[in-house]
Symmetry: D3
Subunit: 227 residues, 6 copies
Amino acid sequence: MRLDEYNWMDIEQYLQNEDRIILVLGACEQHGYLSLLTDVKIPLALADAASQRTGVITAPPLNFGISPYFLTYPGTISLRLSTFLDAVEDIVRSLYRQGFRRFLVLNGHGGNDPARGRLTELANELADLKVIWYAWWSSHSVEAVAIKHELKSSHASWIEAFPFTRVCALPEGVKTPPAYQGILGAAKTREVFGDGVFGGPYQADPAIMDEIFAAALEDVLYYLDIR
Amino acid sequence: MRLDEYNWMDIEQYLQNEDRIILVLGACEQHGYLSLLTDVKIPLALADAASQRTGVITAPPLNFGISPYFLTYPGTISLRLSTFLDAVEDIVRSLYRQGFRRFLVLNGHGGNDPARGRLTELANELADLKVIWYAWWSSHSVEAVAIKHELKSSHASWIEAFPFTRVCALPEGVKTPPAYQGILGAAKTREVFGDGVFGGPYQADPAIMDEIFAAALEDVLYYLDIR
Amino acid sequence: MRLDEYNWMDIEQYLQNEDRIILVLGACEQHGYLSLLTDVKIPLALADAASQRTGVITAPPLNFGISPYFLTYPGTISLRLSTFLDAVEDIVRSLYRQGFRRFLVLNGHGGNDPARGRLTELANELADLKVIWYAWWSSHSVEAVAIKHELKSSHASWIEAFPFTRVCALPEGVKTPPAYQGILGAAKTREVFGDGVFGGPYQADPAIMDEIFAAALEDVLYYLDIR
Amino acid sequence: MRLDEYNWMDIEQYLQNEDRIILVLGACEQHGYLSLLTDVKIPLALADAASQRTGVITAPPLNFGISPYFLTYPGTISLRLSTFLDAVEDIVRSLYRQGFRRFLVLNGHGGNDPARGRLTELANELADLKVIWYAWWSSHSVEAVAIKHELKSSHASWIEAFPFTRVCALPEGVKTPPAYQGILGAAKTREVFGDGVFGGPYQADPAIMDEIFAAALEDVLYYLDIR
Amino acid sequence: MRLDEYNWMDIEQYLQNEDRIILVLGACEQHGYLSLLTDVKIPLALADAASQRTGVITAPPLNFGISPYFLTYPGTISLRLSTFLDAVEDIVRSLYRQGFRRFLVLNGHGGNDPARGRLTELANELADLKVIWYAWWSSHSVEAVAIKHELKSSHASWIEAFPFTRVCALPEGVKTPPAYQGILGAAKTREVFGDGVFGGPYQADPAIMDEIFAAALEDVLYYLDIR
Amino acid sequence: MRLDEYNWMDIEQYLQNEDRIILVLGACEQHGYLSLLTDVKIPLALADAASQRTGVITAPPLNFGISPYFLTYPGTISLRLSTFLDAVEDIVRSLYRQGFRRFLVLNGHGGNDPARGRLTELANELADLKVIWYAWWSSHSVEAVAIKHELKSSHASWIEAFPFTRVCALPEGVKTPPAYQGILGAAKTREVFGDGVFGGPYQADPAIMDEIFAAALEDVLYYLDIR
């Protein structure tokens, strides 16, 4: 149930009985051996699954996030912090104006966190606006799965290696997380991280990936249910 | 050949012999009976077809455009003019930094035209940047097809009613374009345009739609070929 | 009847019975052999003529527009896109606050078109704001005169060569429009266009120029009359 | 010798031997009984006179300044502080790019002073940029004339009442400057200042006005002469 | 009575009977032989003294001002003009929202003057906002003390050399103010001003400094008393 | 060794052998029973201690942070996200220009985290810039102390209750963290959190506070030592 499957009359109808919508924020950035759009694909997959079960509509994803540290990796497209914040604001304002009140943000990229500040500013201005921000990889349920299987996760490692984010065969083995200090610019980031994976196993058993996805989906359904 | 099918190493390789990329700009806005994402779907379909034939990669679409006049139609998500310009700038700068030099913008939404000004400002700053802006519906080839079949086209009418933009059965018949004067705000726009179609036949023969698409695709291939 | 001929008390009086005002937008940019201020002079001349016949007041012109492509031509002064949009917004907001409601924008420069987007955003916010945007050179009436005389027009060609925009003798003959592709930066623009004229005859018969002006003026009077 | 009397080729020629230009900044704001464009008319008159004697060209005036306190007086058009600063920056950058290096700013409005800060920021960035900022009414020479004739001057009083800024008969007598404290918004400003004059004689003897103008012009010529 | 000595409950209580607050604006910039924070220290000392006598609370100082001309002097930290204006706006809006209505700005740095324009814009928007802007060094009372002792004052000279702004022994003697023209960038400023003092005696008798401080404090108390 | 104890000549000398500086970022916001400036006081105390031992200078604190959620608590002064980012950028750029290369940011407020994104953008632009961002309360060493003493910490609880942040007697006992969901605006935040403490003990044994401070200080010294 993505917005693009509907016309405006459908949405007008939808708003008669519903004021929820799912927003997908992500990034177009290097993910090691995985798809450049990994951070969009994962929350979008969660949104699709949750949408199907609940009937809550999903807005088109914002395909670009805040990724200045990866600009040395070809294919990374980063919005300036200020641009990203404005875009998120505009999306929420547009939908709020039409009657949407409860927004579940499925964020796929840690660098997008500053948007929470802008959303607070909006909450100060727009009455009855309710926004829940969900970052699947850092949820307790997902972390519990990782801990259970004794898998350390990080950017572009096994935890993001779903069937639908793979675009080539993945390396075997485990990468030792490189040591570094401080805030890295893009040149230094590439120097430090090489293939772009931040450390840990490159892949995990498909059954574990299903477990991860299921745990995240349960969270999403839980948050969708909140009044 | 969309960017999301690749990882950064693939793109690094790609840049060895190629400096072209296709950008898809569109809108998430009312299109009468058609999909809210019509303005993304059409240029993206063109990009996919052209990508396949030429091997030129397509970046993820910017799913939102400048549509302030349609904000009264539910499901319309409009970026402020300033946000949109910044986003386009950031996308081009990111890719330029990595070696992309020739950008073919496939724009699906007339309201996005102000970005041409920002792209000119960028061309003043970034050496060897070459941007071609293509708006399929207003090209001579596409207009020629419309004229040949004596079909007047406008926003959300037959000319945008491809199989892949339809989300419901379309009305028969022809809508008389409503009369209006000046720059309309969103409230007035809805008052004037009602169902959101700006006038003309709601749909056309599938063969004509194929002809339209083929004409636009030929244009795209032509522009991709320019040095 | 320009604003500068009055003091604020006059305007307070004026607003008792009138809520219209004419705004002149233009550019300070190369116009081949013509005055650098051609794009202000023409709409201002139309405004003056229309003002005189209708009593509608004309605000002082914004003497600078969006002309990044001409910055290599000395004397061109271009506002960034963002600056221009803000300036137009501020002008309209100032006057709206005092009771002006109907604005006829006489725009002399095609590059200023993005302001239409900002004006739509304003129309979403300011109740009863009515803005008509008139670009004389692209109106049907003016085009009809050109077609009648079989004259192709373009930037800085005969169609802008009024007695009051001439600052030197004009070349005889017709310039072949140079071929080019895509969005040009200022360096490339100068390389392509040389003397700055985009093509067509450099000048036309004075009687034709009068016809052009009369046609445009009639348009202006028509738009001023709209409620 | 205003820029609008020339085409770009003339300016290219001019730049062969000259890198100076006069910028006129002003305001479109209430000036009591005087013209709403008083703050443009005075520096422009000075510029014209100085231009004629020195051959230094004058750019088209920026017809709007920073006048938020007068927005309750009809006909006042105020740019936001941020807009004005950006506009001044863009004007200087455009001309600098073409070879202009020495700018004499003739400012007609005290509220525009913040632009000095932005011009300093520009001076930090643009090598060899030299900007002189001249506010005629506060120069020692002009103040000396006022003192000599024992005339206290203020906004919209006699000191701005040149033949070319008058649009109606002026009151006789002297206005007592109203008392007030602090930074006034537009509503309070009107309440305090009524007719908009800040105090002092409404007009002065024409010979004194000539003296004032001559003193200011001498200053302008002096500053134009500086290397 | 600085804000930092209280918790929010104290301030809630305070607002029951009081709507005044003192804001300290300054700069972190070269002051010759004096402390880099001279422009904060002086108004803060005045604020403390006035606070103690009146019970009016002082907000934490904004430790940075607009000082682009001094960026070549190590230790100078300058906010862009636009940043500073936004910061001042945000401070006032935050406090206004909680019930503060009367703001006494004690400004320590002349370069911060543009904030007055932004405060006027705010006064147009926020009902009953009353802001008094006080620049101690240019007040009549302080100037009177200087004149009485026949001391010319300027940036970083004796008039700012209070015991609490001294960080080393000061030179004896008097500096001749260097001659210069126009708006100086940071490189030129250092070339012209050398040690950073703009001219006049480097120090004055402690008794005079007490007189200066007392005069300024009296002003502050006067402005605090205004309804 | 705060910057304000020096003049510019001292800093010029300092830069001969040193390129490090400590920046203190914090907030002026409700901290329950603690000082409104708690988030500045703590990192500043750490900076002072570290400064004393290492000779690395501390810049004046930015006394305001990003605290939109607390604007309903009197005394909270919040900068907009965009303002804060610009201010941090300006501070770093000013000092970088003078030769500072290594910045240790001691951040006292979690809401300021978005600045990391802007600092990454700067690291992409300014060669050899090295920024370490340290948030004392979330460091492993500090958390270890809390765990050792079985104390859960949160905003405005015991962990921030140092002798120098206390402004009144603190409650005994432990606050149960209130439950809530999603991103809260300021009105909702106050409704949920009441006295402003997020949960846990209101105070801890002075010896524990010393341990906390010592652990944080050790971190700071460690980060200062990094090349």
